[in-house]
Structure formats: structure tokens, C-alpha cells
């Protein structure tokens, strides 16, 4: 079974011509077989005819011999010799032949007297028998066969009488002749019909003449006409076959040259084209003899030319697309896709050729604030300038990748930690020298650079470089430290690395698995009296029993743009807490929400669902003032919508952001929460305290409810109370507590005075406070 595609045109040609030859051969063979059959039939017929002719010839020979013996016996001169044999020899050697009674001298004759003896000795080399072989009767003629000197001879005797009445027997005449020689001499036509005629008579054997035919052996001479016919037919068939063979061979050669080879060439060219290889000789190749094939070749040539053009165009486009696909549109440097590909290749390369490699991670400080403050256009320009500066600072073969947002990376081959740090410093210098002020940005734009290095002998750890650089980069972002941090030297060791790694893992796990986010609630007290008005829900992550504070994961949330997902997770957990019933009835809940999350319908939808708890727990939504709100109209719309379902809107961390007054004017804010940086000034008694106090009175006069955050000392509490701010919040009055602890009334109604000694005895509280003190920029996230 021939599968599709297996049969080539050459095979087809071979099959066709082979079949032609086979068919011709079969016809020739059939003709030869038929001829052979006819020849056999004719040979059999010929043999029968020859046998019949031989039988007739033998009969004629017998008759002739008998007649000749009889004629001799009746011949006058025979009787003369029997009476007066003086000239018997003359009679025997001449007269019998001259008279015509014996036609050939091969036939010998002899006369025997009444005593049965030969009249005279026969001098012939094969003499006649000296005595007459007696027969049954002397008066009967005899014919018999005998072997004489190895030759079969026919003897005939006849009695010779003196008178016609056969009264007086004079003697006998005997003739002898060689059977085969006589037959062939007398029947020359037999020679044309039969060869090797022989007579089988054993020496001493005497056979009756009637057995002659049975003892006669012969080989039928083939019919010359038949032989000629067979020869002509055989030659014709052979010539036909040879002609067909030559024609088939020639046909195959012509077919091969005119069709197969050109088709092979076309097929190879098409295959090459399929593989993307173009045959440059196709257009200059010798024209094909078959017009249709030449048309195909020309078409293929034209098609190939067009295809080459198209291919070249596609290659250029592909290169362009490939380049574009690997290029960051905004900055012109390599994008994340290029980073992924090149990093994989870089890892593979350095593993096969170990060398010192470094991984540099760049992150723009406060870029989010810049972006929020000055808009995306200028943020983009900032990124472009940063990318240009970094590219310029890197070595010629180093590539700069934009991983996302304001984060860039590069990896350096064949380098040392010193060289890597020098490159990083060059990058920092060029960034510092960049003219961001031309963009109207007054704040200094800084760059934190995390460096991770891997020695050649530890190249298997090259995979850890990005993580290590990330840790180093965050170390660089820590305040009061160099903006360039080398992992290992500038980080606090392996423990911190593990923590950072664990926090990242815990964050993503918390986002995907409900229940890991745990809400702690910090009370907001009313003044005077320090009664708890409501609680602010603060997010924590519980990972393997350990509590991860916002300072550890919020930077990750911000850097990875996970605000919405994180806010949704917090809202889900809050919903669960509210459903648990552990919160005291009538106790309000304040929720922190990123301004970036608010325009998202899922967040708004979740907030709407939470509003069902409004009757039991009045809800407040805190929008941080530190974040740049770009979609002001949408935010305002959603806030007004939320107000309709019972939410109160608070401006959180007021005093630390970019456009506080604009937010107050444009957004439906009910409560303003003064940031700790302002509230702490109240206890200083200086001009700054006066400004804050005056600003607070102005806000109060404008109708905003004020909350003083970060009240940590009794002095500040006193100042706030004197100022008339109605509500306070801070460690002095109460630390964030788990939901379970809120269930106890005593805990809920704890007072700042009563708790002050306790707080000092609470190691967790002290630790949390320490952590938040160490990371002031994270306190805003609480």
C-alpha cells in the first residue's frame, strides 16, 4: 500500500516503462509459446508424416528388393549363369547392373546352385554369404534383415527355375543391400525429412523384413520452412523486444530529461522555498524544453522573486516588530519581554562560561508622588530622562531594561562588585545632573539602586540575583542610607533577606487566600471624655502565626500596583468581621482606601455591599491625602454615591500630601484627619504650633470634623483638647487591637490614662511602636 506522497514521478515512469516492457515481454512470450505449440504440433505431424513416408519407403524398398530378386530369378542371363557359370563374375559385376535389374552397385547379388553354394567366391570387401541360408522351402522367396559388419542389411532370395512352369529348380538368386544407405539413396527426400536413420539389428540376429519398420530409428528433420518461420518469428520477437527495450530506455531517458529532472528541480526549488531558501539560479537556469514546465518555471521564478521581496519585507517588519516588541515605547530602552528573554539567555551563558556578574535594580524615589503631582506626561518625561541617563552611564554592551513603572534593571557580565558599584555611582551622578527642573519639578528626583553580585565560582546562584538586588534596592531606599546598596554589604544580612522574601510571598498568598489578612482595630476617641467613637480598621498579614505589619508589605503593594486587589481583600475581611458580631453594636468603623482603588467598580460594589452594615456600624471611608488623585471627577462621583448609602468621607494624613486644599474643595469630605507631623507640632508651643492651631480652627470653622492622629504624649493630647479638636487617635489612647479583643467591654472602653502603664508592659505594643517609629513613611499606612 503506497502511502500518499511516497510515489514519485520517476517511480511512476519506471513503473510505466517496466510495465510496457513486461507487457511486451508477455506478448512476445505468449507468441513464442504459441509458436512453440504450433511448432510442436507441426513437429508431431511432421514426425507422423515422416514415419508414414518411411513406412512407404520401407515398403517400396521391400517390394523393390523382392521384385528385383524376382526379376533376377526370371532373367534369362541368370539361368544362363546357373547352367554355364563360366562368366559368372562378369555377370555379377556388370550384367546385373548394365541390364538395370539392380539399380545400384551397393546392392550385391549372388547365385547359388542347387547345393546352396555360391557359384563363385565373392571378392567384394563385404562378400555375399558363401552358402544360401536355408528357408522353410526352397521354392519360396525370402526377405530378411541381418547385421553384417555392424550394418543392417536386407537380404532377398528367389528361386530360379529352368522353365516357366517352375518344374526344374536351377538354383537361387540372392541380393543384399544396405537398408539405410539404400533408403537414403532411393528416397533422397527422406534426408530432408529425417536424419540419423538407423536400423537396430543385433549381430547374428535375423529378422523378418516385416520388422524393418519397427526397428528403424530416425530423427525427424525439422521442417525448414517451419524452422525458417520460427527463426524469423523469434528474430522478430527478439527484435521487437529489443526495440521496445531500446524505446523504453530512450523514452525513460527522454521522460527523465524532459519531465522528471525539471520537475525534480521545480520540486527542490519549491521545497527550498518552503524552507525559506531561495535558489538564485532559478531565474538564470536553462529554459525547460516542455512549454508547460517552462511556464511553471517562469511562474515559479516570478513567484520566487515576489516571495523574496515579500520575505525581505516581512523580515524587515519582523525585525522591526521584534525590536518594537522588545523595546519600551516610552523610554526607548528594552522592555520586560526583552528582559525575560535576555535574562534567560544571560543565565544560560554565564552558567556555561562562569564569570563575575552583577545585577543592578533601579527605582525612582517618590516617582509615584511625582506622577500623581505633576501628571503622567511629566512622569513619563522623568522616566525618559532617567532611562537616557542610565543608558549613558552603562557600558557600551550593557542593556537597560524597564521592568515596569519606574523600575529599571541591568545585568553586567565580566564585572566585579567594585565595577558594579562604580557604574551605579555613575548612574546616580548622571541622574543627579539631569535637568528635571526644566520639567517644572522642584523636588529632587533620586534613584535607589540595588546591586547583587555573583562570583564566578558561585555562578549557580545567579538565579538569586534579581531577588537580592530587590532586597538591596529596598535597603537603599531606607532613609539615611546611601542610595546605592550592594546586597550582602549594605543589607542587614541573610535574615532580612529571608523576611523580605517571606513578606512578598505572604502578600501574594494573602491576596489569593482569604483569611490571611487580619484586621486590627484602633479606637478614635472623642474629647473630652475619651469615649470611643469608632474604630479604624488596620490591615495585618498573619503568616505562619507571625504578624506582618503594613510597613513590611505596603511598599510591595504600592510598587507592584496591588492597591485594588489589596483593598478588595481588606474589604472582604472587614465584611467577615462585621458579620462575626464581635464588634460592639453601634460602634463605627473607619476604612482606609487607596485613591487608586476607588474608581474601580469592584471596589465600589464591595463598598456598597458593606453599607448594609451601616445601621449597626456607621461606616467611614478614609482617603489618604498623600496619594495623587488623577481621576478627580470619578472619585468625587463615587464618594458622593457612597455618602448616599451612609458612608462618611475622611481626608486621611492631611498635611503631608501634595494638594490638600484642592482635595478639600473638590471632594465631598466630612472629616479631616490631621497628620501626626502636624499634630506633634501642637505641643511645641512655637510658631509652627500656632500655624497648626490656626489651621485647625479654620478647618473647624469651615465645618469639617477634625481628628488628631498620632497623639502619643499627654502634652499633645492636652494641646489638642485645648484646641477643641473633637476626636483623637494615637498610641497614647489605644493601640490597634485584634477583633477578638474588642469583644471585651473593658478593652473597648479602655482609657488612655488607665492604659499608659499597661502599654509599657505590652511587649507587642512596644515592638509595633518601635517598628512604626523606625519607618515613619510607612506609618501613614498604619
Amino acid at each position: 500500500m503506497i502511502r500518499p506522497g511516497q510515489l514519485s514521478i520517476r517511480h511512476l515512469a519506471l513503473i510505466f516503462f517496466s510495465a510496457l516492457l513486461l507487457f511486451t515481454g508477455l506478448i512476445a512470450g505468449f507468441a513464442a509459446w504459441q509458436t512453440h505449440s504450433v511448432a510442436r504440433s507441426m513437429a508431431l505431424h511432421n514426425e507422423n508424416a515422416v514415419r508414414s513416408e518411411l513406412a512407404l519407403a520401407v515398403q517400396r524398398l521391400l517390394d523393390t528388393t523382392h521384385r528385383q530378386a524376382s526379376d533376377l530369378a526370371l532373367w534369362d542371363e541368370t539361368r544362363q549363369q546357373l547352367v554355364q557359370p563360366e562368366y559368372y563374375t562378369h555377370w555379377r559385376e556388370h550384367r546385373v547392373y548394365e541390364s538395370g535389374l539392380l539399380s545400384d552397385r551397393q546392392t550385391r547379388s549372388g547365385l547359388y546352385g542347387l547345393d546352396g553354394r555360391l557359384l563363385a567366391p565373392d571378392p567384394h570387401p563385404r562378400p555375399m554369404p558363401g552358402t544360401l541360408t536355408p528357408g522353410p522351402s526352397p521354392h519360396d522367396p525370402l526377405l530378411w534383415l541381418a547385421n553384417e559388419a555392424g550394418r543392417a542389411v536386407l537380404y532377398a532370395t528367389h528361386p530360379v527355375y529352368e522353365d516357366d512352369n517352375r518344374q526344374t529348380l536351377l538354383g537361387h538368386v540372392m541380393i543384399r543391400r544396405d537398408v539405410v544407405a539404400t533408403l537414403l539413396a532411393r528416397e533422397p527426400q527422406l534426408l530432408a525429412r529425417a536424419t540419423d536413420i538407423s536400423l537396430s539389428v543385433r549381430p547374428g540376429e535375423r529378422l523378418a523384413a516385416t520388422e524393418l519398420l519397427d526397428r528403424l530409428g530416425f530423427v525427424v528433420q525439422p521442417n525448414p520452412d517451419q524452422l525458417r518461420f520460427q527463426s524469423i518469428l523469434s528474430q522478430t520477437l527478439l527484435a521487437l523486444f529489443a526495440l521496445m527495450l531500446a524505446a523504453a530506455t530512450l523514452g525513460f531517458v527522454v521522460y527523465n530529461r524532459l519531465l522528471v529532472r525539471p520537475l525534480d528541480r521545480l520540486s527542490e526549488d519549491i521545497d527550498a522555498m518552503q524552507r525559506g531558501h531561495f535558489n538564485p539560479r532559478l531565474s538564470s537556469a536553462r529554459p525547460m524544453r516542455i512549454s508547460e514546465l517552462e511556464t511553471i518555471r517562469r511562474s515559479l521564478c516570478d513567484y520566487q522573486l515576489q516571495l523574496r521581496k515579500l520575505h525581505g519585507s516581512l523580515e524587515n517588519q519582523n525585525r522591526e516588530f521584534h525590536s518594537q516588541a522588545r523595546q519600551d515605547v516610552l523610554t526607548g530602552c528594552y522592555n520586560r519581554r526583552a528582559y525575560d528573554e535576555d535574562w534567560e539567555a544571560f543565565r544560560a551563558e554565564v552558567k556555561t562560561a562562569p564569570q563575575g556578574v552583577a545585577y543592578l535594580l533601579f527605582d525612582c524615589d517618590r516617582f509615584k508622588a511625582i506622577n500623581d503631582t505633576y501628571g503622567h506626561a511629566k512622569g513619563d518625561r522623568v522616566l525618559t530622562i532617567i532611562a537616557g541617563a542610565l543608558t549613558m552611564a552603562l557600558r557600551a554592551n550593557d542593556r537597560l531594561y524597564r521592568l515596569g513603572g519606574d523600575e529599571f534593571a541591568t545585568f553586567l557580565s565580566r564585572t566585579t562588585p567594585v565595577q558594579a558599584r562604580q557604574i551605579a555611582q555613575r548612574c546616580e551622578s548622571l541622574i543627579e545632573a539631569a535637568s528635571f527642573s526644566e520639567l517644572g519639578i522642584k523636588e529632587p528626583v533620586g534613584l535607589s539602586i540595588g546591586i547583587a553580585f555573583c562570583e564566578a565560582d558561585a555562578i549557580d546562584r545567579v538565579d538569586d540575583l534579581p531577588k537580592q538586588a530587590d532586597i538591596a534596592m529596598y535597603a537603599a531606599k531606607q532613609p539615611g542610607r546611601s542610595r546605592i546598596a550592594l546586597y550582602g554589604e549594605d543589607t542587614r544580612g541573610t535574615a532580612q533577606t529571608l523576611v523580605a522574601s517571606r513578606e512578598t510571598h505572604a502578600l501574594f498568598q494573602a491576596l489569593s487566600e482569604p483569611g490571611m489578612i487580619e484586621l486590627h482595630y484602633q479606637a478614635i476617641h472623642s474629647l473630652p471624655g475619651h469615649r470611643i467613637d469608632y474604630y479604624e480598621a488596620l490591615a495585618r498579614i498573619r503568616d505562619d502565626g507571625e504578624l506582618i505589619l503594613p510597613a513590611a508589605f505596603l511598599p510591595l503593594v504600592n510598587s507592584r500596583r496591588l492597591e485594588t486587589a489589596f483593598d478588595l481583600a481588606v474589604l472582604n475581611q472587614l465584611d467577615a468581621d462585621l458579620l462575626s458580631g464581635l464588634l460592639p453594636a453601634g460602634c463605627g468603623i473607619s476604612i482606609n482606601l487607596s485613591a487608586q482603588s476607588l474608581p474601580h467598580a469592584e471596589v465600589v460594589s464591595q463598598l456598597m455591599q458593606l453599607s448594609r452594615h451601616g445601621d449597626r456600624h456607621p461606616l467611614m471611608l478614609e482617603i489618604t491625602e498623600t496619594s495623587l488623585i488623577t481621576q478627580m471627577n470619578e472619585v468625587r462621583t463615587y464618594l458622593e454615591l457612597l455618602r448616599t448609602v451612609g458612608y462618611r468621607i475622611a481626608m486621611d494624613d492631611f498635611g503631608t500630601g501634595y494638594s490638600p486644599l484642592r482635595y478639600l474643595v473638590d471632594l465631598p469630605v466630612d472629616v479631616v484627619k490631621l497628620d501626626i507631623s502636624l499634630v506633634s507640632k501642637l505641643a511645641e508651643g512655637n510658631r509652627a504650633a500656632q500655624v497648626v492651631a490656626d489651621f485647625a480652627r479654620m478647618m473647624s470653622d469651615a465645618g469639617y470634623a477634625l481628628v488628631a492622629e498620632g497623639v502619643e504624649t499627654p502634652q499633645v493630647l492636652d494641646a489638642v483638647e485645648r484646641l477643641g479638636i473633637a476626636q483623637v487617635q494615637g498610641e497614647l489612647l489605644g493601640l490597634p487591637r485584634p477583633l477578638a479583643e474588642l469583644a471585651t467591654p473593658s478593652a473597648a472602653q479602655e482609657s488612655v490614662l488607665a492604659r499608659a502603664p499597661d502599654r509599657e508592659n505590652d511587649p507587642d505594643a512596644v515592638e509595633e511602636g518601635n517598628q512604626e517609629a523606625e519607618q515613619p513613611e510607612q506609618r501613614q499606612a498604619k
Binding site: 534369362d76 544362363q80 547352367v83 554355364q84 562368366y87 550384367r95 548394365e98 529352368e162 522353365d163
Partner: protein
């Protein structure tokens, strides 16, 4: 002499015909046809020509004619040395007997006729048979033989050879007992094969010897010749006439007197027989 007669029915005349046989010499019988006739008339002993038999047409026809005329006719076939010869003898056959043997056989047949009561016998011969009959006449013929009729008589011709030299050579062979067969033209045979003695006996009968016998015949003789006889020599008729032998020349007849000349022959023969009735016996 022993006679063995076989009677056969002969359709032409209704007369009795018989083949008689005599043993001429040991082992050699010879036959003759005997046609019985009027015993008052002379019997005719009719001798055939050279190498022929009594069946030869000229002889057989004449025999029938004579018999029809009332004459008893005995027509033998000379044996020529062959037992019971029935066939004309080929020229190339071996001839051992000579003229003397032929004369002896004629004598025996004359005797046979005499023994059969024929006291008057006329010897007829055709061609070489005429010569043999003439030889018989020359050698003490039987008194019963009353007449001789030679038809187309010729001598023993030997072609163009010198007869004297031939005779001399043959005589030498005979004298020296050389028995080798000799082939030589004789009569119409170009190659007559015979023993020297046999050939010599014939060669001696040349024209002169024939004419000599005819000049003084012991019995009345008569010759019947054809003027167109191609076998006869050019002057043979003239020589015959020169010796004044009674001779009838039939115009237009050839050597064999065939055709219409058969009747002339018969008439002439009958005339001769009639003439013999009136002639005195010896």
C-alpha cells in the same frame, strides 16, 4: 530326343499351336512354337533374327500367315546358350555359343519335324536367321529339307573393322585358349560381348562366304529382299543379283518387311512354297 509339348489355344486361326521344348545341350532346353498344318504340304522351319525370339513380329506374322495357308510351321527360339530363353538377348549379354551351335539347334529342330512326320521341310529365315539357315545348308543339311527362303539376308557384319585382322586375332585367342570375353560390333550390336570362339564363328560369315553358298545351294533357294533394307550394304542386292540367286525384291520394304510389306512377304513366300511343290526333290 525328348519332346514336351504344351498345347495352347491360339485365337487367330483356330489351328492348334503348341510350344515344344528340346534340351539342346545339358541344362539348356529350348522351345519352339509348332503350328500344325496340312501334312501334304511341306513344313516350314522358321528361324528368327539376330538375338531375337520367335515372338519377333516379322517372324510371328509370317508364321501365322503360312499356317493360315495350311503349312505346318515350327518357329523355334534359339537358345543362344540360355536355358528356356524367352527374351531377346541383349548385345551385352554373354555369348558363349557360336554359329555351329545355332546350326546344331536348327538341325535338331529339323529332326524334330521329321520325327513329327514332316518329310518335306522348307527352311525359312529372317535376317541373321537367314544366315544361320544358310549355314545349316552349307553343313550337310538333312535330306528332308527341300527348300530355303532367305528374307532380308545379310552377312555377319562387323562394323568398319578389318574382318581379316579380327578373324586373325580371334583365331589367335581361340588357339591360345584365351577365354576372355570380347566386345566387338556384330550385326546391329555395337558392342557384342562374346567368347572369342563364339565371335569368330560369326565373323567368318562375310559376304563372300554367303554368296559362295548361294551360288551353289544344295536346295532351291530364294531370297526376299526389300529395296529399302537399311541393314544391307549398299551393293548387297547387286552382289546377290550378280550370283544370280533367285530373289524377289519388294519395293519399299525395309529390313523387317513390316507394314503392308508383310503381305508381299507372305505372298512371295507362298509363291516360293508353291514353286517347291513342282520342283523335283534331290
Amino acid at each position: 530326343m525328348f519332346l514336351l509339348c504344351l498345347l495352347l489355344v491360339l485365337p487367330p486361326s483356330g489351328a492348334t499351336a503348341a510350344v515344344v521344348q528340346q534340351t539342346m545341350r545339358p541344362g539348356i532346353p529350348a522351345t519352339a512354337e509348332y503350328l500344325a498344318g496340312d501334312r501334304a504340304k511341306p513344313a516350314v522351319l522358321l528361324i528368327h533374327g539376330f538375338q531375337q525370339t520367335r515372338e519377333f513380329a516379322t517372324v510371328a506374322t509370317l508364321a501365322r500367315g503360312l499356317n493360315d495357308a495350311g503349312y505346318a510351321v515350327l518357329a523355334p527360339t534359339l537358345s543362344l546358350g540360355i536355358p528356356g530363353r524367352k527374351q531377346s538377348l541383349a548385345c551385352e549379354a554373354i555369348h558363349r555359343l557360336g554359329m555351329d551351335d545355332d546350326v546344331a539347334e536348327i538341325a535338331r529342330w529339323v529332326a524334330w519335324l521329321k520325327a513329327r512326320g514332316h518329310g518335306s521341310i522348307v527352311l525359312f529365315g529372317h535376317s541373321f536367321g537367314s544366315l544361320q539357315g544358310l549355314a545349316y545348308l552349307a553343313d550337310k543339311p538333312d535330306p528332308a529339307v527341300r527348300g530355303y527362303l532367305g528374307i532380308s539376308l545379310i552377312e555377319a557384319r562387323i562394323g568398319g573393322a578389318d574382318r581379316a585382322a579380327l578373324v586373325s586375332r580371334l583365331q589367335h585367342s581361340v588357339a591360345t585358349h584365351k577365354r576372355d570375353l570380347v566386345a566387338h560390333p556384330l550385326s546391329f550390336c555395337r558392342k557384342y560381348l562374346a567368347s572369342p570362339e563364339s565371335l569368330l564363328s560369326y565373323v567368318r560369315w562375310d559376304q563372300a562366304r554367303v554368296l559362295a553358298v548361294l551360288k551353289r545351294p544344295p536346295v532351291p533357294v530364294r531370297l526376299i529382299m526389300g529395296d529399302l533394307d537399311e541393314m544391307a550394304g549398299q551393293n548387297w542386292l547387286g552382289l546377290l543379283q550378280h550370283v544370280q540367286v533367285p530373289m524377289t525384291v519388294i519395293r519399299g520394304a525395309n529390313h523387317f518387311m513390316d507394314g503392308e510389306h508383310e503381305f508381299d512377304l507372305l505372298d512371295t513366300a507362298l509363291e516360293h512354297l508353291d514353286a517347291l511343290k513342282t520342283s523335283p526333290s534331290r
